[in-house]
């Protein structure tokens, strides 16, 4: 552990500025007493800059019992879905002079719990839980207890997606978006439809699929489950089309899976959209650059992050609040009318 001696003291800054220790403290730490004049403030700040004075962060946090850190917990920062959410949260945090600490759980529920505990220990100002919850009961109970202990001590929490944790949340309209995807494929005349889905423990997966099934009504659909990634989408599509070559349309439950579905179609020589329509979900920044440009359900991802930040920065309100985030169909070139059935 490196030793970090305090090189420049507050007293040295006060001396250099020609002010009292109390005045230097009022300027640099905002501690009590009369507000210093602008001239005094400028002299102290100049001296602090010149001497490379840094206030002692942990000591300040002890005194104030909180920090300027907001923790953001995501599944995987390399997933563009979470990267866009993080960017939105960071822009909102910057306006409030806060820093965002991002932690990736790599989709391990135990790590989510561990990070919440560590953010409590660091006395983070607030915690944002991004990404779909793991819906397994035991984990949710433990996470709920951790968060309750954190909020009881003044911490603020907001979630993106329905965590079922009784905290303020930004709720993407996953169910409505799934329904819009189903209605789009039906309107194009598709009746042999497959779904490539992420793990059913993720709330977004179950909500998107439920909305989709609602739109389809009595029409059945084939579902293959895999990782919520490009490679997962590729594998699930290969499996689905091997067993059900009659499918003319695929709903991928996120855009990464849709990109994988497109890759699978190319490998199999199935032309998209002439022989196989593919629709995704999220509208990642690169969806428009896919081959062909991907029809998808858009969520405003950076706004999701900013909205979650606004929930924890708002004045304290008693009951948890919810913000609905709309999901809208963006028709592009990867979906087309169902091909006429081959005469047999």
């Amino acid at each position: 552990m490196p030793e970090i001696p305090s090189t420049v003291t507050l007293q040295q800054v006060a001396d250099a500025a020609g002010v009292s220790l109390a005045t230097a403290s009022r300027v640099l730490h905002g501690s009590g007493g009369r507000s210093p004049t602008e001239a005094l403030r400028a002299r102290v700040e100049d001296a602090a800059t010149r001497l490379h004075y840094v206030s002692n962060g942990p000591a300040q946090a002890l005194a104030r019992s909180t920090t300027s850190i907001v923790g953001l917990i995501v599944h995987d920062i390399a997933d563009p879905y979470f990267a866009a959410i993080a960017a939105g949260a960071m822009r909102a945090a910057r306006a409030e002079d806060l820093m965002v600490m991002v932690a990736s759980t790599f989709r391990e529920p135990k790590l989510e719990l561990d990070y919440v505990r560590r953010l409590r220990t660091q006395r983070a100002r607030a915690i944002l839980l991004a990404g779909s919850a793991f819906t397994t009961g035991e984990f949710l109970t433990e996470l709920g207890e951790e968060l309750a202990a954190y909020t009881a001590r003044g911490g603020r929490v907001a979630a993106i997606g329905g965590h079922g944790l009784g905290v303020s949340a930004v709720e993407p309209e996953n169910h409505e978006g799934g329904r819009a995807a189903g209605e789009h494929l039906l309107a194009l005349g598709h009746t042999a439809i497959g779904v490539v889905a992420g793990p059913p423990q993720l709330a977004a997966v179950t909500h998107r699929l439920a909305g989709f099934r609602e739109a389809l009504g009595p029409l059945p659909c084939q579902v293959a489950t895999a990782d919520f990634t490009r490679e997962g989408g590729r594998q699930a599509t290969l499996a689905l089309l091997a067993e059900h070559p009659e499918l003319t349309a695929i709903f991928a439950l996120n855009d990464l899976m849709a990109l994988g579905a497109m890759a699978a179609a190319r490998e199999l020589g199935r032309r998209c959209p002439e022989e196989l329509s593919i629709i995704g979900f999220d509208d990642l920044p690169t969806a428009v650059d896919a081959n062909p440009p991907l029809t998808t359900i858009r969520l405003e991802l950076t706004e999701l992050g900013a909205a979650a930040m606004s929930l924890v920065l708002a004045e304290e309100t008693q009951p948890p609040r919810s913000i609905l985030a709309p999901a809208t169909l963006i028709p592009r070139a990867s979906t087309a009318p169902a091909p006429a059935p081959a005469s047999s």
Copy 2:
């Protein structure tokens, strides 16, 4: 500011576990004295978990004079280049039980300086500067002074890309990669070549361009400069082709710009690669899904992040170390032999 009373004390944990305060402290804080037996350790940890005890992070940081936080400063976390680097750093950090705090500068040099100052204040264990340096002199001097003050107090620093700051660094072979891009286009017979470039203040831009020019030798190339983004690439390509319709190949200095160049080519009805070859740089995860799949120069982005983390976690060595990160040509479908000149 919310008040955060200490709800559970170390004494209460010790009482619940039936051990002395000193033993509880040794287990939970790793403070000095004999190492507790496994049985005692388990009892104390069970009691701490049961009571939701959290050690006081800022107080611990004061005692140890450092924290388990590593700061990572990037230009924009929504840029897949930085998201991939962050993911690599986070995976490496996790293995060492550290948390990564990511800050986005949104490409404002002043914010980079501000974040370094704040990470010093938080007593971060280490700081990683990802992304190409801003090469403007005055800013570099100030940043160098901040970092010198930080390292003088035991902080560790590593950069990705040549910051010219005298700190340990992972150096992507930007010059070599630029040369490989130039050699590839020459081998395909192109002689009318354009470059869409990011801001010349970024070291990666100047290094990639210098390597490219070296490959071209006496052959001139047209350069258009814009934001280092997809939209920047689109605008620069539109401008370049309006003025120089004779161009048959474009080198985009990163993949985002290359995706924008492809979009511009589509808008203008220039078929890629038959009428216009496009080559990028970075090999973002979505480059393979572009239309057509993008020929590019690959950097192993997650390994860049992991390597930077390894530099700050290594045993202290006196002189700053450098790790070279190779850049390799990945030929895909967006480049092809130069079209035969139109007879005029």
